[in-house]
Subunit: 215 residues, 3 copies
Amino acid sequence: MIDFSAIQFVDVIEFIGTFAFAISGIRLASAKKFDLFGAFVVGLVTAVGGGTLRDILLGVDIFWMHNSFYLWCTLFALVFVIIFHNYLIHLDNTFFAFDTIGLALFVVVGAEKSLDLGFSPWIAVAMGTITGSIGGVIRDVLINEIPLIFRKEIYALACVIGGIVFVSLHATNSVNLVIIELSTATVVVLVRFFAVKYHLSLPILKGERRKKLPH
Amino acid sequence: MIDFSAIQFVDVIEFIGTFAFAISGIRLASAKKFDLFGAFVVGLVTAVGGGTLRDILLGVDIFWMHNSFYLWCTLFALVFVIIFHNYLIHLDNTFFAFDTIGLALFVVVGAEKSLDLGFSPWIAVAMGTITGSIGGVIRDVLINEIPLIFRKEIYALACVIGGIVFVSLHATNSVNLVIIELSTATVVVLVRFFAVKYHLSLPILKGERRKKLPH
Amino acid sequence: MIDFSAIQFVDVIEFIGTFAFAISGIRLASAKKFDLFGAFVVGLVTAVGGGTLRDILLGVDIFWMHNSFYLWCTLFALVFVIIFHNYLIHLDNTFFAFDTIGLALFVVVGAEKSLDLGFSPWIAVAMGTITGSIGGVIRDVLINEIPLIFRKEIYALACVIGGIVFVSLHATNSVNLVIIELSTATVVVLVRFFAVKYHLSLPILKGERRKKLPH
């Protein structure tokens, strides 16, 4: 159960991020005619999958095992999709904003947790990226599609760049943690925003039958 | 190696469940023209995949790493499928019964192990469900199909309901553990049986192009 | 960062194996039009996926978390594929040799690590097989194909046979470890080589509609 008396700004952000990630999973599951339970599972996995793999790799307790918040948040997202079913498409810009906020938060959490545990900066970058992007990969595997982030506009790269900002500022030992967190989140949001706005994407590694080199 | 001198009723149940889960994996792999090793792996993963993820999430030793029983049981299932290849379809009702018994046992084991480790009741419900259903999800991912439990008749929900029965009776502190186990197993079997008999399934979360709301 | 002053023969072998596994992932990702980041991730997962699952199951620190070697090695493989894009097909025999050397090494590492940790011989065989083959399975799941090793010429079986050689020689308590390692690697290489040369494969477990038994 959630203790509503101690809700802070970061909890609101975490709710927004989890909610947006869960919504994305539930909507893709619904497009594949999953039943309610299946949609719930895909939503939950999208929201917590990245952090779960991060915690397994870091060898620490899985973050959602001691907090039912993520379960309730996914349930709320499911009810939201059921009720506002026909209006969701008009909310695409809102969901994009929420999703990007969630991504930024997940990168910060992943990088910070890794450094706190004493891992190297490059592991912190990797864990920030895993926290932000692996939930979507598992979602796409479950709905039997090639993971979108491997082919679409810059998404994982926003995590990598954000992670590098985090560990770089952290390495100076002179920047306040809140400033580091906000800077990282801002960079993730900006990279993602401009990538989508200007349809920026990474070069595709072309198949070997082509006559020309890919670059 | 198995110590045959100490076989108890619960071992027989565990054999039946593991055998039935492995058979389901091997049969689906054979429909996809997997070789013998591939079929064996898919059978093994179907049988132990749920419990493996449960133990990883709970942070405890993986249950099958100290007991080769599951390996032998899957090997026996493979030999069984090879020999009785053409007669399996006539055994579908038997396999359904075995599979349901296995499901019931796996839910009991998952919920009980979680509570024993001091986790919350809702984690116990989640772990009972994961133990019972994730093996089939990994099986379906490996054979490149959308996981059946997300679209078919009630399966995972039987786990959830069974898990709730387990933790509810356990919370009373006044019911004998064997009674709790048998009640949980009975509920799982009944829910699954009636779901299949009456073709009960959860509502499908319809795609967003539809004009009507799904409910 | 890599300490180049202490590079030994086994490091060269490990580089060759990791490089070959990463190349195989990157090439398959490029055939599916993945972007550079996606190809990098698939390459990395192919190279380290098996050892990662092994370490999760064994309950020990993940091997690549304290050594950025595998990341650099995959990055080098990516650059190699980008530059030598049109010539890769002429190197297929070289890649096959590298891949087989890598497979042999991974089996040795997986089996040895398990025995060192006090696990049973059959777990050592299983972990040698997992180390050698699961990277390719995850690769195939990510590119949305049925895992090749479940249908193609003998691959996983080479791991199993190599693992059995390792634990058998180890159980004698009278063979030098280096001899055990070299014997195991030689057996894996020979089994894989002859399987490919003579197109040996395991019998396919035929679907149930066929009139004849599969054997």
